[in-house]
Symmetry: C2
Subunit: 184 residues, 2 copies
DNA sequence: GTCTATAAAACGATAGAC
DNA sequence: GTCTATCGTTTTATAGAC
């Protein structure tokens, strides 16, 4: 009787790492299966296609981020400044712990014009990010100004991650974090 | 006797548009050949591989940008503010005239960790961009501050382009342009 | 210089044994 | 649930006619 090697949850986790590092089109089903210790044939027991898997990975990441990162903005304990710093630390930790930067940002630039189906989870992610930041900036700014600042910080993060990926200088993220906190 | 349908120059131009829209890995040699009105077989007369073609496209874009966009920063006529606005207009024009956003930014996120050979032209591009902006900011700030501002504006542009690609809201670029001018 | 034809490999996906 | 085997397609790249 065949022993179950991985759970669906573990596959989503491992697949995310591979997609983050190699991008969607560069990654093969063989890459993904091997990253999970499986052979390609076995992989289709869990997911019917590469696109379906990617969609699930993106939604899964959204759920995780809502629960463990963006939720920090809405905590009742801690000052807004502390919550902002904690949120950014959690965000950058996730981004830097494995190679490839931000899966969401990478996937936007790689697929936005060729794969309509990924746009919905990607939009949800960035809307969540902006909403969480805006919630914090509203504690010291007007609604409009807070929304504007939240957008600017989101843009700042993604642009910084791009230069980090190219030049390897992680100091850019520290600077980005400081700018976000200073704007409170 | 076969008539020459396209010049090498035209191929680089057309190929850039396709890569910009679809990304490197999603684009096939057949896509590229057809975009030039050629058949795949004919295409290898000009370029030995897709990677070689992409490298040439990136270097070609660098030459164009140096000559027609970043050079604006170093012109002797016009105020720094005017030159900054002209430079950003030229940059955004090139980015918005065809679909896909910024080829350089897209290619960084898609290939930085999987294709070492593209990193050199990509780094040259972003170094050129930052240098041109820093040159302008130096007219009203210290060397260090100008460099810092130039980096921030570069990051701002790339992050804004990412959100524009996802949400289609080009107002984000206008805001980005205004922020860049205000920092002078 | 462009075409047709094709080789050779990679890839997404399926079928069936265990 | 995982494996092996394989199908059908796509893709990169080459060879040779015109």
């Amino acid at each position: 009787m065949p022993v179950q090697k991985v759970t669906r949850e573990e596959i989503l986790q491992k697949a995310m790492r591979v997609f983050k590092r190699q991008g969607f089109h560069r990654t093969t089903m063989d890459d993904l299966a091997r990253a999970c210790g499986l052979l390609k044939g076995s992989f289709y027991h869990y997911f019917s296609s590469k696109e379906m898997l990617m969609k699930e990975v993106l939604w899964h990441a959204n759920t995780y981020n809502e629960k463990h990162i963006f939720s920090i903005a809405y905590q009742e304990s801690g000052t807004p400044k502390q919550r902002l710093m904690d949120l950014l630390d959690a965000l950058f930790d996730g981004v830097l712990r494995t190679e490839g930067g931000c899966l969401m940002g990478n996937t936007v630039l790689e697929t936005a014009l060729v794969t309509e189906e990924f746009k919905e989870p990607l939009r949800v992610h960035f809307n969540n990010a902006i909403a969480a930041l805006a919630h914090l900036y509203r504690t010291s700014h007007s609604d409009e100004k807070a929304q504007e600042l939240a957008q600017q910080v989101t843009v700042d993060i993604q642009g910084s991650l791009l230069l980090v990926k190219l030049f390897g200088n992680e100091q850019l993220l520290t600077d980005c974090r400081n700018r976000a906190v200073e704007r409170l």
